[in-house]
C-alpha cells in the first residue's frame, strides 16, 4: 500500500459520507421541486386559437378580416395565410389600405405582406399559424408566429 493511495474506508467513515451525501441529495431534490414552482403549467390568459370556419367558405384570392380576433385571413393560389392586424408599435388595430395596412394611431404603414414601409413600427406584422381542426375548420393560433411566406395548403 503506497502513501498515495487513499486511506482504507472503514465502516464509520462510510456511514458519515453516506448520511451527508443523502442529506445533500434530499436538499437538492427539494430545491429542484421548488425551482419549478414559479413556472406555471398553464397561463391564465384567454384562448387565442380561433376557429374561422371551413376552408370552402373562402375562395382563392380572397381576404377576410376578422375584427374580433384581430387578424386577416388570406387565401391565394398557394394556400391560406393569416396576418395579425395588431400594430407592432403600440398595439392599435391596423386598417386595410390601398397598398397594405395602415395604423391610425401613429401612422405606421405596412405592405400587403405585413412588412414595414413607413412609420414607427419596429417589426413587420406577424404571420400567424394556420391549421385545421379535427372537424375540418380552419384554425388560426394567434400565439404562434410563423415565418413570412408560410402557406397552409388544404
Amino acid at each position: 500500500m503506497s502513501r498515495l493511495d487513499p486511506p482504507p474506508l472503514n465502516r464509520r467513515s462510510f456511514l458519515s459520507l453516506a448520511s451527508l451525501g443523502s442529506f445533500f441529495a434530499a436538499l437538492g431534490t427539494a430545491a429542484a421541486g421548488m425551482l419549478r414552482l414559479p413556472n406555471p403549467a398553464v397561463l391564465p390568459g384567454p384562448v387565442r386559437r380561433f376557429k374561422l370556419g371551413p376552408p370552402e367558405q373562402f375562395s382563392a384570392g380572397s381576404e377576410t378580416p376578422f375584427a374580433e380576433q384581430n387578424l386577416v385571413l388570406f387565401r391565394d393560389d398557394e394556400g391560406f395565410y393569416a396576418i395579425s392586424s395588431t400594430c407592432t408599435h403600440l398595439g392599435c388595430t391596423v386598417a386595410r389600405s390601398k397598398d397594405g395596412f395602415a395604423c391610425p394611431c401613429h401612422g405606421s404603414r405596412f405592405d400587403s405582406k405585413g412588412s414595414v414601409i413607413g412609420g414607427p413600427a419596429p417589426r413587420p406584422l406577424p404571420w400567424l399559424e394556420v391549421s385545421r381542426a379535427a372537424n375540418g375548420e380552419l384554425i388560426v393560433n394567434a400565439d404562434n408566429e410563423v415565418p413570412e411566406g408560410t402557406r397552409y395548403r388544404v
Binding site: 456511514l15 448520511s19 434530499a26 427539494a30 384567454p46 384562448v47 379535427a134
Partner: protein, 494 residues
C-alpha cells in the same frame, strides 16, 4: 469504542433517504402518473390508430401532452375539462371510450368550446384536473357537475325556452307546463307574478346547497336531489312547510327539478344571448294578459280547487272558501270581488293580487271576476233592511251562532275572518244580510232564515250586522258607540 455521534449519523441517513424517496415518488406521481397525463397518453395512441389520412397525421403531429384550457374572460370561467376530453370536438372520436369521446349532438357546432367553455352549461369545477374534483359534489363548490339529463336547465341562460326545439329540452317543456298546471303560481312568484305564501322562485337555480335544508335528505346532498325529494314530499324535507304534495310522478318530479334549476338570472354578456332571449326580456316588461280562466288555473287552483266547493285545508287549519259557488257569486258584487282579489284578505292565507302585489294586470283581474261569475246569474236585489241593529244584542247573537267558526271578535277560525278590513270595507250590508239569511251552498255556512226553521229574525240579523260593523278596526271604538246609540231607539222585535 462506542461513538456517541453514530446514532445521529444513522438518523441523518435514514431521514434523508426517506425524504428523497418521498420527493421522488411525489415527482413521479405529479409528472408522470397524473390522471390527465395518463389520459392524454391514451388519447395519443388513439390518435395514432386514427392517423390514416393527411388530416389525421397533421392532428397527431400537432398533439402535445400538456395542460389545456378554455379561458373565457367574458363568462369568468377557466375550464380545463378539455385537458382530458381531448376528442370533444373531433368528429372521428364517436367510437372511443370516455373521456376521449366526441360531444354528443350538434351542440358544439354553435357553441364552440373556445367561445363558451364547458361549465357555463354543465357547471362543475372547471379548473379541476381530476374527474372527482371536476364533479365537485363536496361542500366546497357551489355548483357541482349537473347530471347529463339535467344539463338542459342551463340552456335558458341564453335562450328563450319557448323558442328552443322541444326535443332538445324534453324535461324543461314538461316542467314549464306542470308549473302552470299545478298552479304553483298560487303561492310562488315567478317574474313578479304569483302568490306570497311560498318563496319567490326567480333565482331558485342559483341557490347553492348551503341555502337548502339538507338534514332530512339522504346523500348526495346536491341541489337537484333536494329539489327532487322536495317535490315528492315537501313537508318531509322542510319540516313545517305549508306546501302540499304536488301529486306528481317520478318523471314529472325530475321535470320540475330541471325547471327549478333553470330559474337563474345569470348575468352573461349581451353578445352571448340568443336574439329570442333578448325579445323575451322585453316581452316580460309588457306581458300580454291571460284570460280569466287561465289566470284562475295558474294562480287560484292550488288553494281554491275548482271553486265550486269549500274545502278544509289541513295545513292552513281552516276552510278555503268556494269562490265560484253559486250563492257567493250571485250575491257578491263585482266591486266586492275586485277588492278581495286586489287587496287580499288580511289575516288569512289569501294574498293581494293587485298589479303592485301579486302582479296580475287590471284586465286579468276583470277577466278572472268574469270567470268566477260565469257559473251563476246575479240574484235579484233583496229588499233593503230598514231596521236599525243593536250591536250589544248582536254580540250575544254572534257569540251563540257565529263565533264557533268565525272566531271570537270575528278574528277567524275555520271560517273566514269577517273582521278583516278588506271585507269590512268591500262587503255591502246587503251582501252580508243575504249570506246570513241564505247561507252558502257548498260550504259549512248554514242558512239562518230557512222558511222551515228561522233561527234568526230580521231584527236579529240587523243586530248581528250592527255588531259585525263594529269589528272593523279602522272604525274603532267610536263607531261601536255610535252604532249602539243609533240602534237603541228603534229596539224591539219587528
Amino acid at each position: 469504542m462506542n461513538d456517541p455521534s453514530r446514532i445521529y449519523r444513522w438518523l441523518l441517513l435514514v431521514a434523508s433517504l426517506v425524504t428523497i424517496i418521498y420527493l421522488v415518488s411525489a415527482a413521479v406521481h405529479e409528472n408522470y402518473l397524473a390522471q390527465w397525463k395518463t389520459v392524454q397518453r391514451e388519447y395519443l395512441t388513439i390518435l395514432q390508430q386514427k392517423a390514416t389520412d393527411d388530416r389525421g397525421r397533421e392532428l397527431l403531429a400537432k398533439f402535445r401532452v400538456e395542460m389545456k384550457q378554455a379561458s373565457i374572460p367574458a363568462l369568468g370561467t377557466v375550464d380545463r375539462c378539455v385537458t382530458c376530453h381531448n376528442g370533444i370536438d373531433d368528429p372521428r372520436m364517436t367510437d372511443v371510450p370516455q373521456p376521449h369521446r366526441t360531444h354528443p349532438g350538434h351542440i358544439l357546432d354553435k357553441h364552440p368550446v373556445d367561445r363558451f367553455g364547458c361549465t357555463v352549461c354543465h357547471h362543475g369545477q372547471g379548473a379541476a384536473l381530476t374527474f372527482n374534483e371536476a364533479k365537485a359534489e363536496d361542500v366546497f363548490w357551489d355548483y357541482p357537475l349537473l347530471p347529463p339529463n339535467m344539463t338542459e336547465a342551463t340552456c335558458v341562460t341564453c335562450h328563450d325556452a319557448e323558442k328552443l326545439p322541444p326535443d332538445q329540452i324534453p324535461l324543461l317543456v314538461v316542467g314549464m307546463k306542470l308549473y302552470q298546471e299545478k298552479s304553483c303560481g298560487s303561492c310562488h312568484k315567478l317574474g313578479g307574478r304569483g302568490g306570497t305564501l311560498g318563496p319567490a322562485l326567480d333565482n331558485e337555480g342559483a341557490k347553492s346547497k348551503h341555502q337548502l335544508i339538507m338534514t332530512n335528505l339522504k346523500p348526495p346532498h346536491t341541489t337537484w336531489s333536494w329539489q327532487n325529494a322536495h317535490f315528492r314530499d315537501p313537508g318531509g324535507v322542510v319540516p313545517g312547510s305549508l306546501m302540499r304534495n304536488p301529486t306528481v310522478t317520478r318523471p314529472e318530479t325530475l321535470a320540475l327539478t330541471v325547471y327549478m334549476l333553470s330559474q337563474w338570472k345569470r348575468d352573461v354578456p349581451e353578445s352571448y344571448l340568443a336574439p329570442d332571449k333578448i325579445e323575451q326580456k322585453y316581452r316580460a316588461l309588457h306581458p300580454t294578459p291571460l284570460t280569466g280562466e287561465q289566470v284562475y288555473r295558474q294562480y287560484c287552483t292550488a288553494c281554491h280547487g275548482n271553486g265550486a266547493y269549500t274545502r278544509w285545508d289541513k295545513k292552513f287549519n281552516r276552510f278555503i272558501p268556494a269562490i265560484r259557488g253559486v250563492s257567493l257569486v250571485s250575491t257578491a258584487s263585482r266591486d266586492y270581488l275586485q277588492a278581495n282579489i286586489e287587496q287580499g284578505r288580511p289575516g288569512t292565507q289569501m294574498p293581494a293580487w293587485g298589479p303592485h302585489a301579486g302582479g296580475l294586470l287590471p284586465e286579468e283581474i276583470t277577466g278572472v271576476i268574469e270567470y268566477l261569475r260565469s257559473g251563476a246569474t246575479a240574484a235579484a236585489p233583496a229588499p233593503a233592511l230598514t231596521l236599525h241593529g243593536d250591536a250589544g244584542n248582536g254580540l250575544s247573537l254572534f257569540l251563540r251562532n257565529c263565533a264557533g267558526c268565525h272566531g271570537m271578535n270575528g278574528r277567524g277560525g275555520m271560517a273566514p275572518e269577517i273582521g278583516n278590513p278588506v271585507f269590512q270595507q268591500a262587503a255591502p250590508d246587503e251582501f252580508i244580510i243575504r249570506t246570513i239569511r241564505n247561507g252558502r251552498v257548498g260550504t259549512a255556512m248554514p242558512a239562518f232564515q230557512r222558511p222551515d226553521a228561522p233561527a234568526l229574525g230580521d231584527q236579529d240579523i240587523a243586530d248581528v250586522l250592527a255588531y259585525l260593523r263594529t269589528l272593523d278596526s279602522h272604525r274603532g271604538q267610536k263607531a261601536i258607540a255610535q252604532n249602539t246609540v243609533t240602534a237603541a231607539p228603534s229596539g224591539g222585535k219587528p
